[in-house]
Symmetry: C2
């Protein structure tokens, strides 16, 4: 009982050993992370199409719940860029921005996503996340970064525009260029330029001036806060809101409210697929960050318990005015670098954000949306990395195809179609790659018990004996390939009296492959040729024995290829020339 509680409630483990030193480290980390999170949360809410406070609410209750159920010591849970974009895309299909239905749909999305994550965790199905291959993730993140940055240009230009893919967005922007608000554009461009400089220019300068890496990092991460303060003061001081600069406006001064997601069957049906997609993408991002940070301190992450932690966080978001959340990269790294020792740091961050939500929100009235858009643009452009195309091109063409297709389809048809096609393409490419396995014809290295590819080595062969080494597990996609190959070789080469299949690299065999072996056996029997196996691995042998058909083979199973050679090679020829 206690063991089960400890497994599902990791807080019992670290909580019982909590001490004063951990407390002071966690408090310092919480202060730093809170400063960074206030503008980021507002910005991501804007990206998701929600009122700014939703971003702050989404960082409070979810963080608290994750600190109870999660296994990572440093992961910071809350809104992140890609999930915010996915939320905007999914919710935009069922309701219009600014309506009550939109907010309810976002809550419902968080609820569905949380339920799905919980379900995966309880059923221990975390491996499903592996269907997203690295090339698909890299292509998707790069394309999403571009889409997100483009989607924010309207705030920087001060125009109305929209669209679900790159072409629509750019077209809509160009169509509205005549309505640009010059003051908004100036604020947006200056803020963007400043934030880029903070990121690229300030940190090296601070480090050179002798500041500690941690302090340099904190100051750099505080850049958005500076931009928020300065541009808000400017808008307030010069009365720019009256001159067409779009501002955040009234933000309620409140702790996270109790909210209810929608349970209408229609709404749930429409949001189910996007919720699954958001869950899996969010989980992959979160688990990668968590494992990278845990490894630095030789700590363990339990992927299935992480699903439960993230599931609880999202359900929390659904009932407290938020929207889908996950473990974010930037905020978690800051948390870790700032010295967070336990999930309590997250709980303290939640308290800090709650105080901000209660006290600071009136100060945000004159905050221009262009500044928030600038923080998003600068943050997501660091995600855009086309070098993955070059890396995969040099490595394997099928990985390149998966990346390129994911990027193009995401940009061209939006995030959901992009990532779904990416998964389908990488699965199909994998199946294609294994559909014609490498099969080497082998002969004996003279004077040894070793057998090598006759096309690569100088080996002895016997014209009446064909030995094929199969370098892949046999299953339905490649079973017929072997059938065809054996039939082709034997019909083309009349002296062959015996065929040996060398199974040293066959790790598994399924029912289709078993039936293919039987078909090969039957056909070779019809041609009066013997079929033998050699070097069959334990698990494969067990399966063949289970099938009770092993005795129907017209030949033998040899422990080693050398045994087969000694018995079957009556007239070995001289060693072949190297080719």
């Amino acid at each position: 009982m206690i063991a089960i509680l400890r497994r599902y409630l990791p807080v019992l483990d670290w909580g019982s050993r909590y001490n004063r030193k951990a407390l002071s480290n966690d408090l310092i980390a919480a202060v730093i992370v809170t400063i960074m999170l206030v503008p980021q949360s507002l910005a991501y809410a804007l990206l998701a199409g929600l009122p700014p406070q939703a971003g702050i609410y989404a960082s409070i209750v979810p963080i608290l719940l994750y600190s109870v159920f999660g296994t990572s010591r440093a992961l910071a849970v809350g809104p992140v860029a890609v999930v915010s974009l996915l939320t905007a895309s999914a919710v935009g299909q069922v309701a219009d921005q600014g309506t009550a239905g939109y907010a309810v749909a976002a809550l419902t999305l968080a609820f569905l996503s949380g339920s799905f994550l919980l379900l995966l965790g309880v059923l221990r199905l975390g491996f499903l996340a592996n269907f997203l291959s690295h090339p698909v993730i890299a292509g998707f993140i790069t394309a999403s970064g571009l889409l997100i940055a483009t989607s924010q240009l309207k705030h920087i230009f001060g125009v109305e525009a929209n669209g679900h893919n790159l072409v629509e967005m750019v077209g809509s922007l160009v169509a509205h260029l005549g309505q640009i608000n010059t003051i908004t554009l100036v604020i947006g461009v200056i803020a963007t330029g400043f934030l880029f400089w903070v990121r690229k220019g300030l940190k090296p300068r601070l480090l050179k001036s002798g500041l500690s890496p941690l302090m340099s990092d904190v100051l750099t991460k505080a850049g958005p806060v500076a931009a928020v303060v300065v541009t808000t003061l400017a808008v307030w001081g010069f009365g720019l809101a009256d001159r067409g600069v779009s501002i955040v406006g009234e933000v309620p001064q409140s702790l996270p409210p109790f909210t209810m997601p929608g349970f209408a069957p229609d709404l749930i049906r429409q949001l189910a697929m996007p919720a699954i997609l958001i869950s899996i993408i969010g989980f992959v991002e979160s688990i990668s960050v968590a494992q990278t940070l845990a490894a630095k301190k030789r700590q363990r992450i339990d992927p299935n318990q992480e699903l439960i932690g993230l599931g609880a966080a999202n359900i929390g978001a659904a009932f407290s005015g938020g929207y889908p959340v996950t473990g974010g990269f930037a905020r978690s790294v800051v948390n870790f670098d700032a010295g967070a020792e336990t999930p309590a740091a997250g709980a303290f961050t939640a308290v800090g954000l709650a105080i901000a939500a209660l006290l600071l929100t009136p100060l945000l009235y004159f905050l221009p949306k262009a500044t928030l858009a600038a923080t998003i643009v600068v943050a997501v452009l660091s995600l855009v990395d086309f070098s993955i195309l070059k890396k995969t091109w040099g490595f394997a063409k099928s990985d390149f195809v998966a990346v390129a297709a994911t990027i193009l389809l995401t940009l061209g048809f939006g995030v959901e179609i992009g990532v779904a096609s990416g998964v389908a393409i990488s699965v199909l490419l994998h199946l294609y790659n294994t559909s014609s396995p490498h099969v080497a014809e082998v002969g004996r290295v003279p004077g040894t018990q070793h057998f090598r590819n006759i096309h690569r080595h100088r080996v002895e062969i016997d014209p009446a004996l064909l030995t094929l080494r199969v370098d892949e597990s046999l299953y339905f996609v490649n079973a017929r390939f072997l059938e065809d190959l054996v039939q082709d070789r034997v019909t083309a080469d009349c002296p062959i009296r015996n065929v040996v299949l060398m199974f040293s690299a066959v790790n598994e065999i399924d029912f289709s492959a078993l039936e293919s072996l039987e078909a090969i056996n039957k056909r070779l029997t019809d041609m009066d040729v013997g079929l033998h196996l050699s070097e069959v691995k334990g698990p494969v042998m067990d399966r063949l024995k289970n099938a009770h058909r092993i005795h129907e083979m017209n030949g033998n199973i040899y422990l080693s290829q050398f045994d087969a050679w000694q018995e079957l090679a009556a007239n070995p020829s001289k060693a072949q020339e190297e080719s």
Copy 2:
């Protein structure tokens, strides 16, 4: 040029060596097959929902075209049971039986299917058929056999009934039981009983009475002809058509007419998916039969040229009043057993059927539909074989799940959903099975250079050295599994200073796996643990070198595991006890 012609026109090859002996053998085979095909063609047309002559037309031009383009010497192309059912299911969704639109849709389906097969053949994509695993095919054939037999009961009962799945069909039959026509039922039951007896009881008796196997077989196959003749005479003689027995009626006395498939975009869009499905299922049935028969005479089948042959046959069917065709099992075996030597036997069969279409059709006026239904029921019940459930259960649970799901989904939701889900399920099960590969922790067999699983053998280990033998190719679905495994082992076991991954069974590695290796390397570096590889295969080594990242590893790559052991095992412990 000649070579290309010979490749695409196999007739040039066998035609140039045709002689008197082959001619006489082919003629005999053609006579036997023609006798068998007349009732079978009528029956399958009935199953497809088409007028009876469509079945005969579908056996004439397609056979001629296949004999020019196909590579099998004995394959007999024409309507088959499963494809006829698929045709009824697909065409029934766009038009009502008996309308002109229904016949045009069947022609269009044949045209689309033929075009798709041709395309696959020209692009040499025959391997796509391998996505249908043996368990899925077996489950699908069994379930289809049941569906087909059930669909024919209405003709035997003499009632109106329909439905796309087993529940609907049985429900519809039961609802109409009150309208049973007793005379029809008597004819149907007697015909069915007679045909079962011919199949199970007559052949052994003929063999025992000293008849040659060929003659016994011919007489058995002529059973349906006898049933047709006797029941037709009975209906005519006793005037049963006036007493409610449903008859075939007027069949035009004509050679195959020239017909045009429909090219309306809407029709093509609706029939495209069913056409692809029919193509692939037809191709799989055909190629299995062709290869089995070819092997008996050590002949070669070219799967991609077979696609072209079947494609031409289906396009021929589209323009000559037929419907989708493929190489049938029963007719091909009869053709082969009757001594057919070349595809010319098929051409002679086509001539025989053309004569039948011209001369015999008036005699079919009083043929009761119940007799045709009986021939279908008896033919397809031999396809029903639930033993596949038991066989796969004993072999591997994932194969069993694929069979069971395909059977249930086909019976419950119809043929198209059944087979599509079967393919999806077998792909997912395969990915699941490879998602957690077998990884063995190995130690050294004392005094040797061999390394074995520490849980199965008495081996030496060094507590500071962890050696894992990975028994599967690494790709995106299982890459993270290895990451987690290494991290778990190293964080759980503090003395570990070096990790060796033994890659002797890793046949391939993709970009995701490469990045996982990098992640493992980075995490182990953070924990101050060395990462090494051993026994890396050539192709995998090439890829690692291409990626230019092999030098970023904190450890070495050893040619053999023994080299790694010698360098890294500082304090090998004594041999472990056998566990």
